[in-house]
Each structure stands twice: as C-alpha cells, then as structure tokens.
Amino acid sequence: MNQPLPNLKRGQAGIIAGIDAAQPTAKRLADLGFVSGIRITMVRPGKPCIVRIDGRFVGLGASCQQIIRVVPN
C-alpha cells in the first residue's frame, strides 16, 4: 500500500500517492512534477537517492524522500 519513497528498492517503480503538504519543499516538489498519479522509479536508493520521473533524473535528500508517499508496483 501507500509507503514512504525510501521503501522502494533499486530499480523498483511506483505511483506517487501524495506529498506531505506540511513541508515547505512540498510546493517545489509538486511544481517539478512530483504529483499524485505520476510514475516514479528508484534509480539509486540512499541518502540522497536518485529517482527517475518523466524521463529525467532528480537527486533527493533524506527529508525530501520522506514527504513523498508512493504505491509500489
């Protein structure tokens, strides 16, 4: 079910279920395309991790990862 992003394993994909709006970076993440329903792939887990979203690569630090919730495929 709905889990925090860091639970994804290397190469595993998921669908974004939501972003924790209480965080100040939430709007920035959303504007960058991290919105509900979008497919996200964990390319390199860790802190920071690399994810692929919409064909591009984004590096996310620990606190950014925690506020993204996903439903793993």
Binding site: A21, L32, V35, P48, I50, G59, G61
Partner: protein, 738 residues
C-alpha cells in the same frame, strides 16, 4: 490587458527577457542573439545575475535589448535566485521596465517539465515567444515535435532552435520582432471553481491596496494563494498588512474544505493541460532507450566508487597543473629574466631603470609566469562543468556537507570558489535557506582560489624536493599542493559547523537537485572559459598588479640617500687602491654592491615599515620582507608575487634581474647570513595564504549579497586570525620536526 503599453508603429526601444528552467540553454541562446560571450555550463544555476545585450540584426526596426536571466522552475519562487527572475519579469525591480516580450526557452528533450513554467509565464499577459531549444538532443532521443501543433496548443509562436549551432536563430529574431505587439492568446488551463472563487476574492482585497499601476497579475496572486510561506505571500503581506495573512489562511482553508490540495492543485491542473498539449504535438519515433546517463551514473554516483572517482579526478587535476604547466612556466620565467637583463644593459643606471627593471618587469613577470597553471585549472573545471558532472559531485557530497549542517547545494558554490570566490559567492543564490546561504558565503573564501596557486607553485618549486610517492603516481610537490587545497577545505568544516551552531543556527535544509544528462564537453565553451580567465588574470597583472608593484617599488627605492652611495664608493676605491689580486677583488666588489643595495632597502620607507612589523612576523619564521609582501597583498593576494619580485630585486645585487624569483628566494639571507627560507618558512607562508582573506573583491561581493558590513567584517576577522594562528603553528611544528 498589459498590451496597452505597446505603441505599434512608433516603437523605438524594446526589452526582451529570456526565461526558462535552469540549464535549458538560455545563456547559449543569449550569446547567439547578441554576439556576446556569456558563461554557459551543463549544470543548473550557472547564470546567477541577469545580463543584458543588444539583439544583433540587419536593417532597421526597434533597438531591442535582450536580458539573460537565471533559470527558474516555477513562478512560486522558493530561492533568492528565482525571486530575482520574478522581480524582473513582473517589473518589480526599481528602475527596470518590465520586459515587452518574454522568450521562454524550452528544452525539447524535456518538454513536460519545461512547459510548467512556460504555462505560468503565458499567464503574465505579456507577449511570449517560445524557443524550442536542443531539438538535436530530442531527435537523438527519438522525440519528434511538431512546432505548429505545439504553438496551437500553448497559444504563442514556437521556433525550433539549436542554440549551440546557431540553427533557427534568424527565425527566432524575426519572431521576436513580429510578436512584440501581440500578447499571448490565452489557451491556459482553467482552475477548479473553488480556487477561482478565492482568487477573485483575493484580487478584490489586494486591489483596495496600493496604486493601480502595480496591480499584481492573476498568476502572481495564484502563487500567493497556493504557496504558503513563499516569497509572494511575504511580499503581498508587506504590501497589504498583517490582515492579509489571516485572510489567506481562511481562503486556503476553504479550498481544502472543497477537497483540493493547496500544494498539488496547480501542478495537477498544469500537468494535465501539458499532457493534453504534448499528446498531439509529440511523437516518439523510437522507444526510449536505456540511456548512457543511467549507466554512467551507476559508477559515478556509486557510494564508494563515485567518491574514489571524484578524488581521482581531483588528483589528476593537481598533478597535471604541475606536469603540463611547468615547461611553459620556465619559458615565461626565462623570457622575463632576459628582458630584465636586456633593460639593465641598455638603460642608464638610476631611478628610471630601477622602476622598469625592479618594479615593472620583475613584478609583472613574476605574476605572468603563473598563467599556464591558471589555464590548466580552468581547463579541468570547464570540462567537469560542461559534461554535467558537477551536479553528481553535489549529490555525492551531500552526505559530507550534512556533517557541516549544510546540504549538497552548498557544494557547487564552494567548488566554484576554487576558481574564484567572487562567482562562488554569487552562486550561493541557488541555496533556498538564508542561513545556509550565509554559512556557505562565509566559508567560500577559504577554498583555495586560483590567485593562491602562484604562491603555492613558487614556494613548492623552490623548497619542496621532488620525491615520487605512491610508486610514482603522485609527486611530493603535487601532494603538497593538494595538501594546501585540503587545508582551506578542511578548516571550512569546523568553521561552518561552528557557524551553524552559533550565529546561524538552523536545521539542515532539504536537498533537491536535477541531474542533467551527460554530454561531451563542447571545445568552444571550454576554450572560451580558459580564455576568459586567462584574460582576467592578465588584465589584473596589467593593472592592479603593476600599480601595486610600482608603489612597492617606490616605497622600497626612496628616499635613496646619497650618503649610502658615497660611503660605498669610498670603500670601493679603497679596495681598488689596495690592489688586491683578481678573483678576490671582484668578489669583494660584489660584496660591496650587495651591501649597498641592502643598505638602500633598509633605509627606504618600505624597510622602515618592515622593521616596524618584524616582531609580529618573526614568530611565523618570516623576515620583514616577507611580512611586507604579505601586508601589501591584502587588497588582492596575487600581488604578493609581484611584491616579492620587486623587494628581492631591489635588495639584490646589480644584475639580479637575470635570476628568477625562485633563485632569489633561495639565496635570500638574514643579516647574520642564515638563509631566510627553508621548508618550514615556506610552509608557514603557504598556510598563511591558504587561510587569509586577502581579497577586496570577495569582501565587496559579500557586502553586496548580504547588504551589510557585518558579514564581510566577520569573514575578514576570522580568516585573518586563523591565518596567523595557522602559520604560527605550522612554523613552530615544522621547525621542530625538521
């Protein structure tokens, strides 16, 4: 709408702004449009300040000014950098008219995210032209875009371009001129009813405040409403008073009641609109293949190998600074020594010859010798920047930056500071958090900039023996150089740590960075970067360094009392009269020459000042000449080499001009005949330079960025104190060990 301000026929001047996401080629396009050479690089945040130029075009027509802006992801503005972009685009900057047209630069290989910002820009209400850049990359990736359909979909003209190869630039210029008076037609997505209602309400209450000319466009009100704690919210509260904060809270609450997410609604609506547009305009001619970037990143961002590769790259860089630059350096050195010798031979003895030989040639020559090192350093930095590696380095080092309480974003400004702290400090604008930004700014000058390189190279070449280490992989000299770079970076750790726990306390900020795709560095960009830095270095050698060299020469030459000449002439005559046999005779005469030169220097203004500060620098192992040179280089540290060149030339014997500065340092002595320099002294001097804030430019830029004198003052004080203590410790320890 805002098109009221355009007068179709009589237009004389127009302002056009280039806006778009970071790293989409805005600066490359700016250069293509204006014939300028703006700095480009393949990582987000290369341009940190807006630049303007004139559109190059044939025939008549309005004079069009082009503005190159830093990249932004969204109008919501979460960093200082993005706030600048907005101020320019919305015409909030004092004294700068809002642009008459916005060129939104789109990365064709990454359209969806690019169109998010574009759709916001289209809502400002100004005429917009879209430059669809990097179509070469898109085609290579199997993406084909129909510009006409895209143009239909988004409601403004779309011109495909390849900025790096100047493809489509003429068409873009034409489109800019054609569209100056046609506001974008509104094809933009509509928001849910609950958001629109609150937006209308907000518009009403903001309208009742402030002059009508400054009414914010609807898209700015949207950001005010949907970005809690953002830049727009703060600006609007400043304008309308505290009451607005409560109003915003109420309105947001109502939107949430209606079942919308404040944070996500804008992205959801816009991305849905983008998907619809792209669905018609884009066809994939080939399936997306597993790209090289992902494979390369498997190694380059590997937790262990990635770091090793990073260290290896740095090691190679420093090793080649030695290996490649040394022969050229010796050549330049020799050429200036010969020039000095030739001038000595042809010019009559006196103040003028001394000024030319001891002041200008010795000073400037000493500095220019280091041009090859600077070029090699920038060759490496430019390659790393242009291929897209920098963003990975930031990612890799995020963890380590975390130890300082900073995040990986601070790494790129710090790395640029290895070239020069001034652009490094400006690059801190991409850091969202104010405290993190300040900490980064305050430690940036500790990174060994290229102006320190000459000091290291000179002293290492003269006093550190060449010993192969690690089975010949690294030389002791290169290792010492690496150590000097490590000292600055190493000291930055406790300093940042301390700052984060005292004056600038705060929690670590979230780290979020886009990783651009790798590409081959473009030779022209790399060469241009080297050329630019080389030119800047030579210009400073030709201006400030000549000026300081002349001042130092004058202080070291005058008052030049006649009594010294008389006294020494008397001694010369006495020896000649005594009729000693040959080799001894000329030796004695040389001895007298040296003592005469030394006496002049001691009697000079510089010599007197030097003796005054001598007690301060003796514990560091320095003689007064080193102390004077160090003090003279507080305005700009690259001056030190010229100053030492001048001082040691003045104090040397008559034909000293033909001996390189390195030799002169080796043969310099204390009055009792002990050599001034040894390894311990050289190390102490290098440590001093590594840690000291000898750069007026850095302090000025910190003042400008922080708008206060306090921060530059703090930087100067802590660095100078650290430098003194560091040099003292180095000399005392090294002196004992060796």
């Amino acid at each position: 709408m805002t098109s009221l301000c355009s007068l179709p026929v009589a237009r004389k001047n127009a302002v056009v702004a280039l806006a778009g996401n970071p790293n989409t080629g805005k600066s490359t396009l700016f250069n293509a449009l204006t014939g300028f050479r703006q700095r480009v690089g393949n990582y987000p945040g290369v341009t940190v300040e807006k630049k303007t130029g004139l559109l190059e075009h044939e025939g008549d027509g309005p004079r069009i000014e082009i503005i190159d802006l830093p990249g932004a992801y969204s109008l919501s503005a979460t960093s200082a950098d993005e706030a600048i972009v907005l101020d320019v685009l919305l015409g909030h900057k004092e004294g700068i008219a809002p642009p008459d047209l916005i060129v939104v630069v789109l990365d064709a290989s990454n359209l969806s995210r690019n169109l998010f910002f574009a759709s916001q820009l289209l809502e400002i209400g100004r005429p917009v032209v879209a430059a669809l850049n990097m179509v070469d990359l898109a085609e290579a990736a199997g993406i084909s875009i129909d510009a006409a359909v895209l143009s239909q979909g988004i409601g403004c003209k779309v011109v495909p371009v390849v900025a790096t190869r100047q493809v489509g630039v003429t068409q873009l210029k034409q489109a800019i001129r054609d569209c100056l008076d046609t506001p974008a037609s509104n094809r933009c997505p509509s928001f849910p009813e609950c958001v629109c209602a609150e937006l209308d309400g907000l518009n009403q209450s903001v309208r009742s405040n402030g002059a009508p000319a400054t009414h914010p466009p609807r898209v700015q009100l949207l950001q005010t409403l949907l970005t809690p704690g953002g830049y727009h919210e703060q600006a609007m509260i400043r304008r309308c008073g505290r009451g607005l904060a409560d109003e915003l809270a109420r309105r947001r609450h109502r939107i949430q009641e209606a079942g919308e997410s404040i944070i996500e609604v804008e992205a959801r609506i816009r991305y849905a609109w983008i998907d619809r547009v792209l669905d018609q305009a884009v066809t994939r001619t080939a399936p997306a293949r597993r790209n090289r970037t992902e494979i390369a990143d498997r190694w380059l961002t590997h937790r262990l190998f990635g770091l090793l590769i990073f260290l290896l790259a740095m090691g190679i860089c420093f090793q080649s600074i030695y290996a490649w630059a040394a022969p050229v350096m010796n050549f330049i050195d020799g050429a200036f020594a010969m020039l000095g010798g030739a001038l000595t031979a042809v010019m009559p003895a006196g103040a003028l010859r001394s000024l030319a030989v001891d002041g200008v040639v010795a000073g400037v020559g000493a500095v220019l010798t280091f041009l090859p090192q600077i070029l090699v350093l920038f060759l490496f930095l430019a390659i790393l920047e242009d291929c897209g590696y920098m963003a990975r380095a930031a990612l890799l080092l995020d963890r380590w930056m975390g130890l300082l309480g900073l995040n990986g974003k601070s790494f790129i400004p710090l790395l640029s500071s290895f070239a020069c702290a001034v652009p490094g400090i400006m690059a801190t604008r991409t850091i969202e958090d104010r405290r993190d930004r300040l900490v980064t700014m305050l430690v940036a000058p500790l990174m060994s900039c290229s102006a320190r390189l000459p000091v290291y190279v000179l002293l290492i070449g003269a006093f550190v023996p060449s010993v192969p280490l690690l089975g010949g992989l690294l030389d002791l000299r290169a290792a010492t150089l690496l150590a000097m770079y490590a000292i600055g970076a190493g000291v930055a750790i406790p300093v940042a740590w301390l700052l984060k726990r005292t004056v600038l306390r705060g929690t670590p900020q979230p780290f979020l960075i886009e990783l651009p795709t790798y590409k081959w560095p473009s030779p022209s960009t790399v060469l241009h970067r080297m050329y630019e830095q080389g030119r800047a270095f030579c210009t400073s050698a030709g201006t400030i360094i000549v000026a300081v060299a002349v001042v130092v020469w004058a202080l070291g030459y005058y008052p030049h009392p006649a009594s010294i000449a008389e006294e020494h002439d008397a001694r010369r005559q006495a020896i000649v009269a005594a009729g000693a046999p040959e080799p001894g005779l000329s030796q004695q005469l040389d001895e007298i020459d040296r003592s005469e030169a030394g006496a002049y220097l001691r009697q000079s203004f510089l010599g007197r000042m030097g003796r005054w500060i001598e007690p301060l620098v003796t514990p560091l192992g320095w003689d007064w000449r080193i102390g004077t040179a160090a003090i003279a280089s507080f305005p700009a540290r690259e001056v030190v080499i010229a100053t030492m060149g001048t001082i040691y030339n003045l104090g040397g014997d008559q034909d000293a001009a033909s001996v390189s500065l390195r030799e002169k340092l080796r043969s310099a002595t204390w009055p009792d005949g002990r050599p001034v320099f040894n390894l311990a002294v050289a190390l102490s001097l290098m440590v001093f330079f590594a840690l000291c804030c000898q750069c007026g430019g850095t302090l000025a830029v910190i003042k400008r960025e922080t708008r206060s004198w306090g921060w530059p003052l703090l930087t100067f004080t802590y660095m100078t104190a650290l430098a003194y203590v560091g040099a003292l410790a180095t000399y005392q320890i090294a002196g004992r060990v060796m």
